[in-house]
């Protein structure tokens, strides 16, 4: 019903295991092939927030409706693509102007591809002054950044990041003529919009979605308020809640979950969602398929059998990137899974050949062998060997061995030393969308207390706990630490 209804403003509340992506794909097809729209040649557009999510949705869509569903002009894109489309249109219409008059921009994911980062407090911000897009230098806390002169040169040749596009749009949306143009653009090009994982939307996303609703498009929002995890990236779940109320959007709840294979797990999930107190069964970690925690740090601390897919959330340093390359070597071999931040690490090392991991395979194996010796100098020796490997494929240089740079290798060495097969460790963010038979969770004291009180989906920590506890098909166990 959620996918077939002719409702024009629809929110599909899709809990864990309810087949959210399938419903979104079904809905897309139903709108795409709807009889009323036969002669309406505007696009049906589905958006999601990450490239992985869009290609996942695209795959599902093609499987259900065939490739014809995605024939021009219908599409599945990231919100970043939408944002650039809108900015391009505004530049083209002359409502906004790029400093150099460009109307076509080249949008990159990050500046890191252009230059090595340096420790600096010099950064920049985007502002808009009577239709002119401008940049100004600002001083922030010192961290590893791409030098401002590199960025300036690129900006002046019409290259910018997705963040710049968003900043420019955000700074100009209060202008009513720009909002009018965006609404008009929606009406002209699009008849239906489907937003997947809508609770990952930030302020700007929410505004642009609202403009689409105001423009009279058929708008379907799909998501789970309990699984909004991206507040740290600027997601504003409460903005979406307000938007739903303000626009009078109808809610359909998907009740049937296909995930739970065990009554206890089903009960756990419904207790959590109802805000009832729960306590998890404690266990050792040998019986679980995966271990989840809110942070990477908790996972590294939780026991030497647990091998997390990242050291920490990626900061951008070359030493961290090198260690990530090595970690990726291990996780690919052991789990068949890439290290979470492999892409970011390659970017930070200025490597654009995606096959590089295969090319340095045997060299990395040598580094691991050094590390596995477990003698006094093992970590330092491995670090130097790793620095040599990096030197052969990247222009970036690793700094001399120092505890701050080598400790990641030390952590990895402790995992290599363990006799049993490692257990996959993931943060709740990385686990979102996944499911396993038996899931172990690592909880801090305060997190355990939250479960004992009962969760509230307005609290971010509670949402993370909810996600962690709803990944299992059969059992969710508390890992003793």
């Amino acid at each position: 019903m959620a996918s077939g209804t002719p409702e024009k403003r629809l929110f599909i509340d899709a809990g864990p295991g309810t087949g959210k992506t399938t419903v979104a794909a079904q809905r897309f097809g139903a709108l795409r092939f709807s009889a009323e729209a036969r002669n309406d040649h505007r696009s049906v557009t589905a958006v999601s927030f990450t490239k992985a999510a869009t290609s996942n949705l695209r795959r599902r869509l093609t499987r259900i409706w065939g490739p014809v569903a995605l024939g021009w002009p219908h599409r599945v894109v990231t919100l970043d693509t939408i944002m650039y489309d809108l900015l391009h249109d505004l530049l083209d219409a002359g409502l906004l102007r790029w400093p150099t008059g460009h109307t076509e921009l080249t949008v990159v994911d990050s500046w890191n591809a252009f230059s090595q980062s340096a420790w600096t407090d010099a950064s920049y911000e985007v502002f808009v002054e009577s239709g002119e897009i401008r940049f100004r230098r600002i001083t922030l806390n010192s961290t590893s950044r791409v030098p401002i002169r590199v960025i300036k040169e690129k900006l002046m040749s019409g290259i910018c990041t997705h963040q710049d596009v968003r900043d420019a749009l955000e700074a100009s949306l209060n202008d009513s003529s720009i909002a009018d143009r965006i609404r008009a653009r929606w009406v002209k090009t699009t008849r239906a919009l489907i937003v997947d994982e809508v609770f990952d939307a930030n302020e700007l996303d929410a505004k642009v979605i609202e403009l689409a609703i105001e423009a009279g498009l058929s708008v379907t929002l799909v998501g789970d308020p309990w699984q909004a995890l991206y507040v740290f990236r600027g997601a504003r779940p409460e903005a979406i809640r307000d938007l739903l109320l303000r626009t009078g959007t109808r809610t359909l709840v998907l009740n049937d979950s296909f995930r739970w294979r065990d009554p206890a797990q089903r009960q756990l999930a419904s207790d959590l969602r109802a805000g009832r107190a729960v306590s998890l069964v404690p266990s050792d970690h040998h019986a679980v398929d995966v271990v989840l925690a809110v942070t990477w740090k908790q996972l590294w601390a939780a026991g030497e059998r647990i091998l997390p897919l990242a050291f920490q959330s990626f900061k951008g340093g070359s030493e961290e990137a090198a260690a990530t390359l090595l970690l990726n070597h291990v996780t690919s071999t052991v789990f068949g899974r890439q290290a979470t931040y492999l892409t970011e690490a390659l970017l930070a090392l200025g490597i654009d050949d995606p096959d590089i991991t295969d090319q340095v395979y045997s060299k990395l194996q040598d580094v691991l062998d050094l590390l596995a010796r477990n003698d006094k100098m093992a970590v330092t020796n491995a670090y130097s060997a790793l620095a040599e490997v990096i030197k052969s494929v990247s222009s970036r240089q690793l700094r001399p061995a120092h505890h701050a740079h080598t400790r990641r290798l030390a952590d990895l060495a402790s995992r290599l030393a363990h006799a049993d097969k490692p257990i996959l460790g993931l943060t709740t963010h990385q686990a979102k969308g996944g499911e396993w038979d038996v899931v172990g969770v690592v909880l801090s004291r305060s997190e355990r207390d939250r479960l004992l009180i009962g969760l509230d989906n307005a609290e971010e920590t509670d949402r993370k706990l909810y996600v962690a506890c709803t990944r299992a098909r059969y059992r969710t166990l508390l890992i003793n630490t």
């Binding site: 209804t5 092939f33 036969r38 040649h41 024939g71 021009w72 002009p73 249109d89």
Partner: protein, 591 residues
């Protein structure tokens, strides 16, 4: 295919004004956010390669925004067999037709309704007692055979009715009299009309998007209440929930059916551009039908901006039904390179005037000039008849030369050959032919020397391509020397008094046109036989033909005509060929 890489570049431009823009162009411009009439919208390159004796093509450049799908080519090759294509069982063309009709009436492309009717008809048939009885008899046997393990039941029932089934049971027929009872299978219908039917069916199967956009099919969607989801207050919440869920289910199923028919169809329901390429549309057609076909196609293209029709033809009647600007001439140049020249794009002197004259004068006989590599332009039909007779004498017993004269295009222009035809056919660098000779009267006093027309400059026309030769002062006197006996014989037949002596001057005096006085000379009256010039030429041609058949070749070929034939027949391409392959390439071009 030849050697090396081959590719085709395609470019598609928006219409020059919104009023004639196709739905595809309109929607693409809407998407780009800015109307840009006349601009190039999209372009791509297709590479051609060999593929087991056929030519395979593949896209070399990515087409922006997945647009390749919007451009469809319908190709009716010269070797098409309309009877086969239209009458073959399971031909999808009929299904496409039905779908297009459905779409034109606003009903999508789904043929569920028609299939249901066919199904009901067959269901009735299978209810017949005879069929029932047969089922029962088989059943008894099958029971005995299968029940030991797992009993099965036999049925004689209707086949699964899908779209191809419709194509299987329906057939296109043609009738020369109105009335369904007169319809006859295509195998026994006139070939020309079957060819026309084929073209008509192809055109009909392309959904007309302008019609579809305005049509409404109320029968198809009884619930037009899109966007409204109000629940009738009388129902209980549970009932309305159920009703809504059922409605949503119906919509999903409908969308599924829509998808299937769309995936199945040659033409997508989205805005599109269709290029129909018809080779030799004139096949088996009466000349009048050729004219009307070409004109009708032009009309249809004007009405349906999403259609583009390309004809390839050798038929003068097709050519004359088109305006010169629509014509593109495909040929090989002197170096053997394939060239393709749009008459609309020719860069020639006095263009506007040449185009005006071309539009006026390019009729069926003159348009033959567009198909000839070597040709001769003459003033009138009588010149044409006589010149070919002299050609055969020029050829003598040389078989190659004889066939050359047999095939030579001699195009009578009806008046003195002016500059426009030469400009059109043989402007330097824009040639539409290999060699062009012009035979015209000098119309000067006998004592004067003929002079070349002012427009014939080496800058405008390559002397290797164009030669203007004069009959001085007109045709009759210029062929007199050495042919006095024939002229005397013809004058006798026509009962025209034979002048004495019978020489060039006498023949000139006999046939000359009257002249008004000018500053330098007095007026002169018409010659006594001036009004019988045509008769004379025809009679002379007839006499020469008769003598040719009897093998009495006693005709003298005048020098200026000999010059024309030598020039046109000549195979030496260049004094100093810089490429040894040129000579053979030029020979190729003749083929």
């Amino acid at each position: 295919m030849g050697e090396g890489e081959r590719s085709v570049e395609v470019e598609w431009t928006y219409a020059d004004s919104d009023s004639v823009e196709s739905p595809l162009g309109a929607s693409m411009q809407a998407r780009s956010g800015r109307p840009t009439p006349g601009a190039t919208a999209i372009g791509w390159t297709r590479g051609l390669s060999r593929d087991l004796g056929r030519v395979a093509s593949r896209l070399l450049t990515p087409v922006e925004g997945d647009q390749a799908d919007a451009f469809r080519l319908v190709y009716l090759p010269a070797w098409r067999n309309p009877v086969d294509e239209l009458a073959r069982r399971e031909a999808r063309i009929l299904v496409e037709l039905l779908r297009a009709q459905r779409q034109n009436s606003g009903g999508g492309r789904d043929l569920t309704g028609l299939r249901a009717r066919a199904s009901a008809l067959l269901e009735q048939l299978t209810g017949d007692g005879l069929i029932r009885a047969v089922e029962e008899r088989i059943s008894t046997h099958l029971q005995a055979l299968s029940a030991g393990v797992s009993r099965n039941w036999p049925y004689v029932r209707n086949q699964v009715i899908d779209d191809t089934y419709l194509a299987r049971v329906l057939e296109l027929m043609l009738a020369v009299l109105e009335g369904r009872e007169h319809a006859r299978p295509l195998e026994v219908s006139g070939l020309g009309y079957v060819n026309l039917l084929h073209i008509a069916v192809i055109l009909a199967a392309i959904p007309d998007q302008l019609i579809a956009a305005t049509a409404d099919d109320p029968a198809e969607h009884p619930d037009n209440a899109e966007g409204e989801c109000g629940t009738p207050s009388a129902e209980s919440p549970v009932e309305s929930d159920l009703a809504e869920a059922a409605d949503a289910e119906v919509r999903l199923r409908q969308a599924q059916a829509e998808r299937e028919s769309e995936e199945d169809s040659f033409f997508p329901s989205r805005p599109l551009h269709v290029t129909v390429l018809i080779e030799e549309p004139e096949a088996h057609l009466h000349p009048q039908l050729q004219h009307s076909l070409a004109r009708y196609l032009q009309r249809i293209v004007r009405r349906r901006p999403e259609l583009q029709i390309i004809l390839s033809s050798h038929a003068t009647d097709i050519i004359t039904s088109c305006s010169p600007e629509q014509i593109i001439v495909l040929r090989r140049d002197r170096d053997g390179r394939r060239v393709c020249r749009g008459i609309a794009e020719l860069d020639i002197p006095d263009r506007a005037e040449v185009m005006r004259k071309t539009r006026l004068h390019l009729d069926a006989s003159r348009s033959a000039a567009l198909f000839a590599e070597r040709l001769l332009l003459v003033e009138g039909v009588t010149d044409a008849a006589l010149v070919r007779e002299f050609g055969w004498v020029w050829a003598g017993s040389d078989e190659d030369k004889r066939s050359f004269v047999d095939a030579l295009s001699i195009v009578p222009m009806g008046t003195k050959v002016g500059s426009w035809a030469v400009r059109l056919l043989a402007t330097r660098g824009q040639e539409l032919c290999d060699r062009l000779a012009v035979l015209r009267d000098s119309d000067k006093e006998l004592e004067d020397r003929p002079t070349q027309p002012k427009w014939l400059t080496d800058a405008a026309h390559d002397p290797r391509v164009v030669r203007v030769v004069h009959s001085h002062p007109t045709l009759e006197p210029s062929i007199t020397s050495g042919n006095e006996i024939h002229i005397k014989a013809v004058l006798d037949i026509l009962r025209i008094e034979v002048p004495e002596p019978l020489d060039v001057r006498a023949v000139h005096e006999l046939f000359r046109s009257p002249r008004k006085a000018t500053a330098t000379r007095a007026s002169s009256p018409a010659g006594p036989a001036a009004s019988r010039k045509g008769e004379f030429a025809l009679e002379l041609a007839a006499r020469l033909a008769e003598r040719r058949d009897s093998g009495a070749a006693d005709l003298a070929v005048p020098d200026h005509l000999r010059e024309i034939f030598d020039f046109l027949y000549s195979t030496d391409v260049d004094e100093t060929p810089d490429d040894p392959s040129e000579a053979s390439a030029a020979n190729d071009a003749q083929e």
